[in-house]
């Protein structure tokens, strides 16, 4: 294989409907003799059958109903070679209704042609597509001014559009590589330099195409591997536990110290795994890799593996983002969606709509909701913390999609991480994890040995609701079943560990009390124990804090009593405590798969 033959580039062609994207492409394919014989014959035959004159655009609009309507509904992939390299061209639709298809077509492009009709001038989607290209992260854009034959190849018209569109692009911080006058129908400046526009001294479309750069891979940026899955295929005696994911940026080799965020668990890369590939124990950005680790720590999909000695991503529950919305139902403040960033999926609330921008005019609007095809600046608040970057640092882990129900309905780029309440504590926890002295016995080995998963059972409620009694009964029941279990009341901590901060009825120290309680819980859970804790009237913040510190999903919260007096949303509520209570707690633990299955 010759090297030059294996370079390739993905190009998107965008612009307003009927401005001639498909015609330009059809002409390019025909003039470079790139069409499979069958295709041209097929399209010409179909035209004859339907008594229609042949058009270059039909080459691309291979679908029946598309030809009937004369517009591109979906982005079509076209494969095309020049002497220099291979191309995959995405012909994106220009019709406003098919904006989501335009986004699909353009999102993975390395470069783009934005087509404007010389006669019709700049239209709504000329601007909207320009703005979306910038949000999608496409940096190489050439503006192609088409249908020059209809304006008598006038330099004046060309210059006027160039000036108008240039002003628009300046506002959104895009600098196009060039402006290029063509006629798709007549073939001017497509594959050959036009004789009709002697005033134009630039390159042809074909030449421009060949001079786009293949973008550099982010190999020299900090490592980011969103964990996609953990494999343990035991078939045929395979004992490897492989962590799989795509390297979004950076590089890895065996022996690298890494941590997983947001959990903060650290380890060392043991081997890089391959099937029928090279075994040099290294890998780089854009590869779908797999590796084994030294310690058998708990890792799950959605976490990001990063290097200990490199710049780390943000971990938070709040961020500011620019989004574009393709959903049928508008976004209002307070709406809830799922967002997917890397491999993490998390519930998110629209905390605030800062501004809504009409993408076609770029005018800020005083709208309070974000409608279909709008773009906006929004503050998101997540139900659980995730790791992410901002768009100016590492774009691959700063992009997310918004899911409404079952559908992807929008996308966004994070422009700023906003500190949430637990920011300071999270920093302490990260340092704790980094300095943690690991045992040679893994969590899993302990779980197998004790036949239990370590976990935290939080029993809370109002004074006199029977918390302590329930905790003692539960402890005894589990103990008698052979479980390693320990009951710890808040009182066990207040006058010992907390004696330096224990001031009667001083609620200002509440956070510190909870932090210490959670740190003790973390230690005890690390030892493999089932820990039962009772505390008075815990609220949502307390629970979030405990989750941040203990870094586990193995927490069950129980509220005792008829009325819930805080904003907590407990896993279980017992209005009355009776003989059946303990059984139902155990059932919940079983349902959550926390009880007896060590894996």
């Amino acid at each position: 294989m010759k090297k030059t033959n294996n370079r390739d580039l993905r190009l998107a062609v965008v612009g307003h409907v009927d401005h001639g994207k498909s015609t330009i492409l059809g002409r390019l394919l025909a003039d470079t003799h790139s069409l499979p014989d069958g295709k041209l014959e097929f399209v010409k035959m179909t035209c004859r059958r339907n008594s229609k004159p042949f058009e270059y655009a039909f080459l691309l609009d291979a679908l029946k109903d598309e030809q009937a309507q004369g517009i591109t509904i979906d982005a079509a992939r076209i494969f095309f070679n020049t002497k220099k390299r291979k191309y995959t061209i995405m012909d994106a639709p220009g019709h406003i209704e098919f904006l989501k298809n335009m986004v699909t077509g353009a999102s993975n492009a390395d470069a783009a042609f934005l087509v404007i009709d010389a006669e019709e001038g700049i239209k709504e989607n000329s601007k909207r597509h320009g703005y979306l290209l910038s949000m999608l992260g496409i940096k190489q854009v050439t503006i192609v001014i088409n249908k020059m034959d209809l304006v008598d190849y006038s330099e004046k018209v060309f210059k006027k559009i160039k000036k108008g569109y240039g002003e628009f692009l300046k506002e959104i911080n895009i600098k196009p590589l060039s402006y290029l006058p063509v006629s798709g129908i007549e073939g001017d400046n497509i594959a050959k330099t036009s004789r009709n526009m002697k005033w134009y001294k630039g390159k042809t479309l074909l030449k421009t195409l060949d001079e786009f750069n293949s973008p550099d891979l982010p190999i020299n940026k900090p490592l980011r591997i969103p964990v996609q899955d953990i494999y343990k295929f035991t078939k045929d005696g395979d004992n490897r536990r492989i962590i799989a994911g795509r390297i979004e940026s950076g590089k890895i080799k065996s022996g690298d110290s890494i941590i997983f965020l947001p959990s903060g668990k650290k380890t060392i890369i043991k081997t890089i795994e391959y099937f029928n590939g090279n075994k040099n124990n290294k890998d780089i950005a854009s590869n779908s890799t797999g590796f084994t680790i030294e310690e058998q720590i708990y890792v799950k999909r959605g976490q990001i593996a990063v290097k200990i000695d490199e710049k780390k991503p943000f971990v938070s529950t709040v961020f500011k983002a620019n989004i574009f919305w393709l959903g049928k139902n508008p976004i209002k403040q307070g709406n809830e969606y799922d967002i997917k960033l890397g491999t993490a999926k998390v519930r998110a609330i629209i905390k605030k709509i800062n501004k809504v921008i009409d993408a076609s005019t770029l005018s800020k609007q005083k709208k309070r909701m974000i409608e279909r095809n709008d773009t906006a600046e929004v503050i998101f608040e997540l139900k659980n913390e995730i790791a992410f970057d901002t768009i100016d640092e590492i774009s691959e882990t700063a992009r997310f999609v918004i899911i409404d129900g079952y559908e992807i309905c929008g996308g966004g780029i994070i422009i700023e991480s906003i500190k949430d309440k637990n920011e300071k504590i999270r920093k302490k926890v990260l340092l704790r994890d980094e300095k943690w002295i690991t045992s040679d016995i893994s969590q899993k080995e302990r779980a197998v040995n004790y036949n239990q998963k370590s976990q935290l059972i939080l029993i809370t409620g109002k004074k006199g609701s029977g918390r302590k009694l329930l905790a003692r009964d539960l402890e005894k029941d589990l103990f008698n079943k052979g479980k390693y279990v320990y009951y710890m009341g808040m009182g066990n901590v207040l006058y010992g560990v907390d004696s330096d901060i224990k001031v009667p009825s001083n609620m200002n120290k509440r956070e510190e009390h909870i932090r210490r309680l959670a740190e003790i819980a973390y230690l005890m859970m690390d030892s493999g124990i089932i820990l039962i804790v009772t505390a008075l009237e815990l609220n949502k913040n307390d629970i979030n804090l405990i989750k941040t510190i203990t870094e586990t999903d193995n927490i069950v919260s129980i509220w005792t009593g008829k009325t819930i007096s805080t904003d907590i949303v407990p896993d279980i509520q017992f209005k009355n405590i009776d003989k059946a209570t303990i059984e139902s707690i155990k059932n919940v633990l079983k349902e959550k798969n926390l009880m007896f299955d060590p894996e």
Partner: protein
Amino acid sequence: MDRLKKLENHSVFILRESYSRFKNLCMLWSIGKDSTVMLWLARKAFFGHVPFPLVHIDTHFKIKEMITYRDALVKKWHLDLIYGQNTKALKNKHTFPDNNTSRLECCRVLKTEALTNTLNGNWPRYRFNHKSQKYEKDINKEPYTGVIVGVRSDEEGSRSKERYFSPRDKNADWNVEDQPPEFWNQFKTDFAPGTHVRIHPLLDWTELDIWEYIKYENISVVPLYFDNGKKKRYRSLGCWPCTKPVDSDAKDLSDIIKELKTGKFTNIAERSGRDQDKEDGGGLEELRKNGYM
């Protein structure tokens, strides 16, 4: 970056995403070069394993060597293979080779209908038992909710509009006009009950990419693709009554690649040997809407 490496890594990502997101997942294996490359990519993705069943629709009119090759590979790689068939249509001779239907109708009955009913579990599935070395009726009748298919977008017009993750409704219909957006490596992996998703890891590959990759990885393919000594070979495989060999003396992978790059096939469509494509302009798209691969 090397194009093949890029394609391989992207396909592996899609396969892993499918395995992570879909509980009832299967891969369609037509025995042809494309789905065999896809099978190889699954072994890449899962480090030598293929952690889901392969489904083959046996029209009964496949070229004999294809079935021999299929069963040999199933044994060699310990694959979990399931096949389905339209036994009723075959019994009633409602087929093109029996002179009772058009080519497209035959495709609809033996492929599309058999596929739909094998995937949803309405018709019997036959699973290879590696202990008894025989195909046995499968007791599992659960519908597959994720189906991995090896279509390439350069094959013909309608395939160039496909998504990597393409939802199908309860009747396995494909709504071309209203497909979900796909960007930044995020796909539609959430779906309403009763619907299923077709997954297309090979969408970005061309015919030439496939052959170059087969050579690079040294993957074994059905010998029908090579000159049989009579200066004839198959470029695309299917049922014998509708698939014609092409004139070619390409004896090995290097010959095929050379032929595609510079030889007489550079500008001739791959499926030109498939007679059903010629019956009706846009016929394939009609079939695809109904679940044809």
